[in-house]
Amino acid sequence: MQYLSVQARAFGALRDRELELAPGLNVIHGSNEAGKSTWHAALYLALCGARRGRGRGRERERQILERYRPRIGSDYSLATTIELEDGRRVELVQDLDGKVDCTACEALLGHDLSSGIIHEGAPDGARWMQLDRASFLATACVEQGDLLEVLLQAEALQEQLQRAADTSGVEATAQRALEILDRYRREQVGSDQPRSQRPLARARQRLDEARACREAREEEFAEHARLLEELSCWREREEELQGEVRKVRGALDFRRAHRGREKLEQATRLEETLEELEREGEESARRKRLAARVRSALQVREACQLEGRLQGPPVAELRRELEQLSDGSPQRSDLDSGVVETHEAYRRTLRAIDDHDLESPSRRSLAHVVRGLAVTSCLLLGAAVSVPSGHPGLALSLALLGGGGALLGLVLSIGETLRTRLELRLWQRTHAELEAEASELERRLGEALREAVGSVVGGDGRRLEPGELERAFQLYLSRRRRREGREGVDARRREILEEIERRKVDETSVRRLRKLRGKNRRRLLRLAREAGLEGGDETELATRLASWAREVEAGDGEERALEEKREELLRLLGERSLDGLRRDVEESIEEVRAILEEFDLEEIRHLARQDGVSLADLEEARREAREATAELARRLGQIQERELHLGSRVEAEEEVERARREVERLLELDETIELTRGFLEEARDEVHRDLAPRLVRFLEKYLATVTLGAYDRARVDPRTLRVQVRSSAGDWIEATALSRGTAEQIYLLLRAALADELTGKDEVCPLLLDEVTVHCDARRKTRILETLKSLAADRQVILFSQEQAVLDWAREHLEEGRDRLIQLKSSARVGETSRREVELEQG
């Protein structure tokens, strides 16, 4: 490719200027500020344009673009006409301001070729050379500084070669890239050693910690699960023991229910028997009470019959006899005071018995009250029933009154019965005591009289009847009176007086006896009616009553049997009623039914039959169940306590996952770095290995010519691109050790060689050199220019210079048609005005 012309419409200080160029060596000469650098930049930008798009772009391109932006106006654009190796002429227009109106058209046919060379949003003519605006700048453009760098720094030549070979000189060298990667790996990945503090080691450590944490948590949960499993076992054990408790209790309940049922049946039978017996017992008791009363009445009757007759003269007759006695005060009888006293005591006791008989308990008066109340209640209830329906209040009141009366009657009846029973017992006891006392006195009186009267009285030794006693006592008295001769009037008087007294007492007794007999007769009649005996005279009735009482009293065995059955029933019932027992049995049966829902009937029945199952077994089962329940509760508490401190498994898992991802990321990064290094090293080695011999060939093509035979051979290290040349003496010399002039020549040759190498095979890259000879002496300058002239035989070379020597050399050595000398005329500062100074002189 070669430039044919460049038009600066508005570029730096240039306005509507054009530069036409020859295909060989073009020397553009001008003094300072004549516009050389401006045209140098214009050549670059006219071909390559500027990147279009957001972002800052590369620094060097950006600097160039900004440096030549016109201060006034907006038509910041360039145009160039180039010729490709295939002969096509292309007109490129670069709108450097808006970067929109950029075109690349074939000059002859007008075809738009822009799309084929668009790079970073704008047409880039370097693309025809398989370069781009960045690599073209690095490859084709040689500046004064590049040359100086090679001359001043030993490694610069090699580095520039590497940079060009590695990245077209645009960016770092492959070696530098590898160093960057190594450092990046050290910093971002680091060693995998455990003690390292680099990211990978730390990430692995975090992963290990996270895994340990997760495992610890898993162990916690496994332990928790184990505890739960144990808890489940304990729960089953507890349920089993509770079941055992229920089973044993069920067996006991079964047994209890069974026995309870038997007991209930027995008790029911007893109850029925008792009810019957009690019904009979009540009648029996009543008859017994009645018999006791009959017995008492009969005794009273008998007593009344014995003592009911008055003996001796009446009181009036005795008084007359007493009056007939002439004198004397009554004399005291000397009768045996012991017999008399015993006789008197005996009489007192009999009277006391009579009196006591009169005080026999009776329910009659209260029974009348009860009966009255009952009748009243019935009447009131009847009245309540008959009250018209319009008076419910009255009916209710009457009914309440009737009910209350009946209740009161019932209460009083019960109270009276109890009271009568108690009084009867007391009366009987007192009666018995009096009877005993009377009997004793009777015995003593009989014995005393038997001693006093002899065989006349009770000579057969039997006990004397009360009538016999009285007759014996009278006989005793008369015998004593006759036997004692001294009985005088006084004695008689005393006797009469005593007789009177006794007669009075007897008369009183007889009156009382008659009264008592009458009362007792009525009592006997009543008792006979109560006993169901009626008819007949008193004696007959008394006989029948006595017989009846004996029969009744003979029935005590039934009472005892009743008591025994009652005691048996009480023993069966305990402190319950029969209904209570029945309820208990029903409850037991219900409990057994519930148990049988859980357990087999035969098992329970079998267990209930076993003698081994007892309350002790139940207690033992309960104790075991309680222990199991307590253990269950303890373990449950332990588990709940643990649960409070159980961490989250998912969080531990997430932490592991995060740590694992970080390790994976770092390992992936490490692998990427390693891969990148590998590819880079391979690429570098291959390119350098390919490049080295081509560089050698290029150098040797020009070396002898440009060095005037001082050096003829060259070699390049494929690994480092280190350059050596062979002197005419056959010594291999490092390029960096050559004289400056030779080094400059070799550098320019190498730049041209690299440009050729980096450029596509169908194109040749032009060289744009800016003041590359300014620091050279005349000899070196000439050698550089000659080198350029040689290189220009195969490519377009454009040299910008301000030096007169260069101008002179150009005037002398440039060939008409092939080369061109352009002089930039300048009289003032370029850029002050766009119209003042720029004129082109083409030679």
Partner: protein, 369 residues
């Protein structure tokens, strides 16, 4: 009189959210949101006075559950008493000796189906719900194999399984989790199947997949939540979705083209994320300036109110003409050629290319994206 049932599935309580790549707090918030979703479902059941609440499995994740999970579920379902809560365990909450279903002392209204075959639960006279349980994490056979309803009335299915016709028959994964076909369903005599397992909601005359009610990942589409089924005495059934999730999902794409510096790109991302709540998936795409190094932490914290930002790399292309560079006769060109010619997967090729070109560019931070 209509029978009302709220059905849900695939809540996945205690799921891992490690995929979010964020710190633990975000994952904990996600899990709280899941519980809130279940709270909302129970509240809906209470509000609508339903006749039953049903769960089609994957209520929780067995491997990650804790006693707290059990207490939460127990108390929540107990609060609905006496409304029946019917659960058909799935492959993630499979019914085993150590599963929560066995450990928790459920209230009487909770019924967990436990059979490997469908078992009846008479919801009310003439309405039977047939449910079954996964009893292992995989290889559960179809619940519908040989199943046919054996009584009169309305019959509803409740189980966790894969409708094979949805994904074809060639996917072996389908065979692991109670696979069945639409023909199986028709032959079963079930009037409708309340299902779980597929996270994408699917409503059909014969079945309902409610989908996961609370988002588990980005890219979930379709109206999801709990499903209200209303069944008339004639057997006529209608469904409607009741959303329960309070979580917003946002997909944000930002073009990195033209951004030569991270700062300017971060400004654009900040503007794009501004005001977005919930979970955001940020996808960066476009032509990436060679000088621009992308790293997820540089973007994850740019949201003002969003709960979490998951950064993903979309179609990111280097702002370089790699074809052109590959033609260079330089080490760089050869490097590109070699990487491209390698058998590395495309993503790894891209990473190597990015790293190598950055290193050749002298960039001291050649890593990242």
């Amino acid at each position: 009189m209509k029978l009302r049932i709220i059905h849900f599935s695939d809540l996945h309580l205690e799921a891992s959210f490690a995929w979010m790549g964020s710190e633990g707090a975000t994952a904990r918030r996600r899990r709280r949101a899941q519980r809130a979703a279940l709270d909302a479902i129970v509240e809906l059941a209470r509000e609508h006075e339903v006749d039953a609440l049903t769960c089609g499995g994957d209520l929780y994740e067995h491997d990650r559950q804790t006693p707290r999970t059990g207490r939460f579920l127990c108390e929540l379902f107990e609060s609905l008493h006496p409304v029946p809560v019917l659960i058909a365990p799935g492959n993630h909450d499979w019914l085993g000796p150590a599963s929560l279903y066995r450990q928790v002392d459920w209230s009487p209204n909770v019924h967990v189906f436990s059979g490997s075959r469908l078992e009846p639960f008479e919801l009310e006279s003439g309405v039977t719900i047939w449910g079954g349980a996964h009893r292992s994490p995989a290889r559960t056979e179809s619940f519908l194999d040989g199943f046919e309803v054996d009584r009169e009335g309305i019959h509803l299915g409740l189980f966790h399984g894969t409708l094979r016709s949805r994904r074809g028959t060639g996917d072996d994964r389908d065979l692991l989790h109670a696979p069945f076909t639409l023909d199986d369903l028709r032959a079963s005599g079930l009037d409708h199947a309340m299902l779980g397992h597929l996270h994408a909601p699917d409503h059909h005359r014969l079945y309902t997949y409610p989908g996961n009610p609370e988002p588990l990942n980005f890219g979930e589409t379709g109206e999801r939540g709990a499903v209200m089924l209303e069944i008339e005495s004639s057997g006529n059934l209608t469904t409607r979705v009741l959303p329960v999730s309070g979580t917003e999902l946002h997909e944000v794409s930002v073009d990195v083209t033209g951004h030569g510096h991270l700062h300017s790109l971060q400004q654009q991302v900040t503007a794009a994320l501004s005001g977005l709540e919930g979970l955001v998936r940020l996808r960066l795409h476009g032509e990436q300036d060679p000088a621009l190094v992308l790293s997820r932490p540089d973007f994850a914290g740019l949201a003002d109110v969003a709960e979490s930002v998951k950064v993903e790399w979309g179609d990111l292309r280097p702002a370089l003409d790699l074809d052109h560079l590959a033609r260079e006769k330089t080490v760089r060109g050869r490097f590109i050629q070699k990487v491209r010619a390698s058998d590395l997967p495309p993503e790894r090729q891209g990473a190597v290319l990015r790293m190598g070109l950055r290193a050749l560019d002298g960039n001291r931070d050649p890593g990242g994206l």
